[in-house]
Every structure is written in structure tokens, then in C-alpha cells.
Symmetry: C2
Subunit: 314 residues, 2 copies
């Protein structure tokens, strides 16, 4: 059966690995692409020349399509985009910013451009700017996230109804049954983040991966809404943030404590006390590290068995 | 195909209409039951003798099973339970309280008891208390809601894995595709609230119903977490609450402003300025008032067409 997402990217399965900071280097991206999904390099935590190195290594590690995810708030974005064009990366996901800024430029260089949003309004804006597909991300997603707190279950039908380009669902999707749920709601494919953090291939620190496996219901919270909302795994750093809120701290004070490099410290250097740990609610369902290929295969197997289990109602 | 929920309740379709305050009287409950789902009277907004009247009218209006939903924090709960037992209501949903309090009593009178929770922990507790089934309600649901903010997409697989009694999903389910999504995640049936508010049969005030139809993405927020968390439709009363938060108001001050009778004022008397309006995120998807029977039929039709549309992946 024709699927708009597999056709758009030239991949086997409509499973996209999210380009996450400090997790998604060439090892993870190439493993997902080799398994039939779409791997993305997370450029948000890479200097331009580091990204170039990852692109080149990824090309060597897979002959399948892969892409790059770029947060549009990246300070040296011009240099990142130059690397992407020079290295002839043909699939680019842009997030956390205005799709007007780069979509036309990337498309003029032959790129397929996908923009990540958390609302109908921005989905329509990205479509108007020429995006080839949309990722719509629900409240349960890890990392930076919408202010409107719309969950994936509510968001996907709204975006689907408004849009006429292919739609990828993100947020809370860590298994084949959840993928089937997203497709039932109208998505053409899924973007999976947290589940791919718990792989040997993710570049995240082993301490962070262990915390992801330990996570339970209620282990994360979407916070820092005054700055850039982010879903954090609860740890001593999170407790500091909560304490500041309880004291009625200003945005300036929050920003000061947040400082710089917190995410690297937590997720890449494994400092579970002072570091910022970003993960989705679905971490509560993740119980073991698995190779990326096994994850993709399990998604497909359980998607199919779940579909077979569901009977029509009469 | 055998479905644990249709078998447990003796109904045709595994669709349960939520027993909502100021919406779910005998007209709505009997209409849903007559359409093949399970209608529930919302006892939370009824004096005991009013509940008796609704039970008696509901019995006259349908020969199908129906039930009563009881919030366990209800002040004169002994009297409500007396009415339920005297009137031989055989299906009782309990919510917002400790399942230890009434489950054994109701079961000793031959009732099937279902308990509503928003976490794995309380699902297990309710199961241990002898509940026959569980409703697990996600963050996107209207009305009173869990503190852990776990969305339906994340919550249902967690509860399903932990539980060995039938599971009903609630929160964000306003259409057949969303019902299919919930069933894919492991639910045996769904509880639907907001969609049934937008019916001619709901006892809610027409002004409130109009606001539900106008709702868009971002029109609701889960707030008042310090007291009892509740998802509110944004209106001038909600603005008052937000202003109090911005001023750093104490819980006592919040409670004082909330006062008594706000929900009745808003949802039953139609005061859109001073009243509290409770609804789920899914209100953004609701565009017209429809008879309850039509809603049930549309759920089934679109559940089936969605299931047919989904192809296995290979």
C-alpha cells in the first residue's frame, strides 16, 4: 500500500528517528536508516564541522536515505545550512523556529523539507512556506515542546483535518501499538525520540540512558514555560527549578540558573545532579536498551499483530 | 469477537458515556444506552432524591443497561449509595476518591463496580479492592483529572500492562478513529465525555454547549493543581484564576475565589463570565450538536472504516 511518508523519503517503514540533541549522531541515524526507517542527525548539539563529520560518517555507514534535524534557533545556523547544502543532504527537518527562514533556500538546493510544529496554526504556516511534510508533536513529547499542551491524541486529528501534505505524529510513540494509534488518528508516519535514546547506538551518556530505563509514570514534567518549554526528567536540577518557581522567581532568575550547557552536562556528560535531562513521558514504558534495528523490527511486528487483533464492531 | 467490556455490561458497543456533572441526566444516559453504548447518570451534581428521580426516569426511557457515576468526595455519599442500592442500579462507576470505601459494599449488593483513575498506582489499588474494571483517564480529559499529567497515549499501555481486569480508556476520545487508537493501545472500551456534552440530550446549558462548539486548540487548560486539578475552558472566570496565579495567590485565596456553585453557574445556568466551564481538549474537534444516537453510530462507522484503511506493514 502506498504510504506518503515512505514514498517522500524513499524508505521502507514510516518510522522517523527524532534528531535529538546529544543522542542522535551518525551511529544512531545510520542504524535506523539501515533498519528501514529514517535516521536523523541532531544538529542542535553539533558545531558545523562536527555536523559535517557526522554526515560523512553516516554516508559511509549506510547507503539508505538519512536526514538532518536543525533547530532554527541555532546561533550559527548559516554555517550549519552551508554544511548541509555542501554535503548534499537531501532530507532536512527544521524545528523550533519560523519555517519562512530557510524552507525556500533548502528547497532551491533540492532538499525535501519537513517542519516540526505543535499546533494547527504553525502546521498551516509551514505548509504555506512550502514544507513537504509536517511533524506534529504532542504534549507528552520530550525536549522542547508546545505551550498549548495539546496531546498527540488530540493534536493529530486537528492537524490532519487542516493539512493537505503528509503528516508525521510525534510524542508518546514508543511502540508498534502506539504507532498504529497514531496512524488511526490520521498520521502517515511517526517520529520516535525517547525509545531511540535507549539504544547502544545513541550517543547519550550511559548514566542518562539508565535514568530513562528507571523512569516511571510521573517521572517527567513539562516546565520552564516562561522561557522555552521543555519536558524534564525529575532530578536534583529539576528540583532546583521547582524550588525557584515556588519562590516566585523571575524569568531572568530562571534563565540565570538554567545557564548554558545544562543539557550537555546531563545527557552527554552524564551529570545526573546538575545536568538537564530531557525525555518524553513514554520513558515510563521503556525497560531495556535495545539495538535500533531491533526497535524498528519490534515496531513493525507489534504494529501488525495489533492490527490483526483489532476486529471491526457491528 | 468477544469484548470484555461489552460482556461485562451487557451492551452492544464498548462505548461508555462519562457521567459528567450538569450534563448527564436521564435523557442523555438513556439515549446512549438505547443506541447500544452505556449511559451513565452523573450523580455528582444531583441531590440523592434528584438521582432517584433520574434513575426512575432512565428505567422508563430504556430497557437497556445504564449506570451511575459517583464522585467519592460527594458530601452526602451515604444517601446517594442508599438510593443506588434501593433502586437496584447494577452498574456503578466511582471516581475521585478511595476505591476501598465503597467497592465491597456495592459488590455485596450485586453491583458491577468500575473505578476511574489517572495512574497505574491507583488502577492497581482499585483492582485490589475488587473493582470489575478500570477507567484510566489521560491528561487531555475534561473535568477533574490527574496531577501527573500523563496523556492517554502514554497512560493506557502502562495501565494495561499492570492490570488483569478490563480497561476503559478516557481522555481525548471524541471520534471513531480515536476509539480505534485507544483499542490499539490496549483498552477494551472507551469512555467519552466532551463529545456527549454537544448533544441535544445533555442537560448542560445551551450557552455552554455553544462555547464547546467554538473551542479550538489551546482553548482549555488543566489548572488549580493545588486544589483539585480541573481542565477549564478559557473564559473570564478562568482569567481570574490565571490572574491570581500571576499574583502568587495562596491556595486559600484560590479556594475563596473559586467559592461554591461555580460549575453549576457555568455549565448548567450558562453564565459564561462567572461560571466554571469544564471540558476536554477534544472540544477543539467538535463542530456541531448531534443526537447521542448519531454520535454512537458515527463512532462505530468511522472506527470500522479506519480499521479497513489501515494496512499491515511489510
Amino acid at each position: 500500500m502506498a504510504n506518503p511518508i515512505t514514498q517522500l523519503f524513499g524508505i521502507r517503514y514510516p518510522i522517523i528517528q527524532a534528531g535529538m540533541v546529544w543522542a542522535s549522531g551518525w551511529r544512531l541515524a545510520s542504524a535506523v536508516s539501515n533498519a528501514g526507517g529514517l535516521g536523523l542527525l541532531g544538529a542542535g548539539s553539533m558545531y558545523p564541522e562536527v555536523l559535517r563529520e557526522h554526515i560523512q560518517k553516516c554516508k559511509k555507514a549506510t547507503d539508505k536515505p538519512f536526514g538532518v534535524n536543525v533547530p532554527l534557533l541555532y546561533p550559527d545556523i548559516d554555517q550549519l545550512m552551508e554544511v548541509i547544502v555542501e554535503e548534499k543532504v537531501s532530507l532536512v527537518f527544521t524545528a523550533a523556529g519560523n519555517p519562512k527562514l530557510w524552507t525556500a533556500h533548502l528547497k532551491s538546493h533540492g532538499c525535501t523539507v519537513v517542519h516540526v510544529v505543535s499546533s494547527v496554526k504553525f502546521a498551516l504556516k509551514a505548509q504555506a512556506c512550502g514544507a513537504d511534510a509536517i511533524v506534529a508533536e504532542g504534549f507528552e513529547a520530550g525536549g522542547h515542546n508546545g505551550r498549548e499542551e495539546t496531546t498527540t491524541l488530540t493534536l493529530i486529528p486537528l492537524v490532519k483535518k487542516a493539512l493537505n501534505i503528509p503528516l508525521i505524529a510525534a510524542g508518546g510513540i514508543g511502540s508498534g501499538p502506539a504507532m498504529l494509534a497514531a496512524m488511526a488518528l490520521g498520521a502517515d508516519g511517526v517520529q520516535v525520540g525517547s525509545r531511540f535514546v535507549a539504544t547502544p547506538e545513541a550517543s547519550s551518556h550511559p548514566h542518562f540512558k539508565s535514568e530513562v530505563l528507571k523512569a516511571e509514570q510521573g517521572s517527567t514534567e513539562l516546565t520552564l514555560k516562561e522561557l522555552t518549554p521543555v519536558r524534564l526528567l525529575k532530578n536534583p536540577f529539576y528540583d532546583q527549578i521547582k524550588k525557584l518557581y515556588a519562590e516566585g522567581a523571575s524569568s531572568e532568575r530562571l534563565k540565570e540558573v538554567l545557564g548554558r550547557g545544562r543539557a550537555k552536562k546531563g545527557m552527554f556528560e552524564g551529570d545526573l545532579v546538575e545536568g538537564e535531562l530531557e525525555i518524553g513521558q513514554v520513558a515510563a514504558q521503556i525497560e531495556s536498551l535495545l539495538p535500533a534495528e531491533t526497535i524498528v523490527q519490534e515496531f513493525i511486528t507489534t504494529y501488525n499483530t495489533t492490527l490483526e487483533r483489532l476486529a471491526s464492531l457491528d
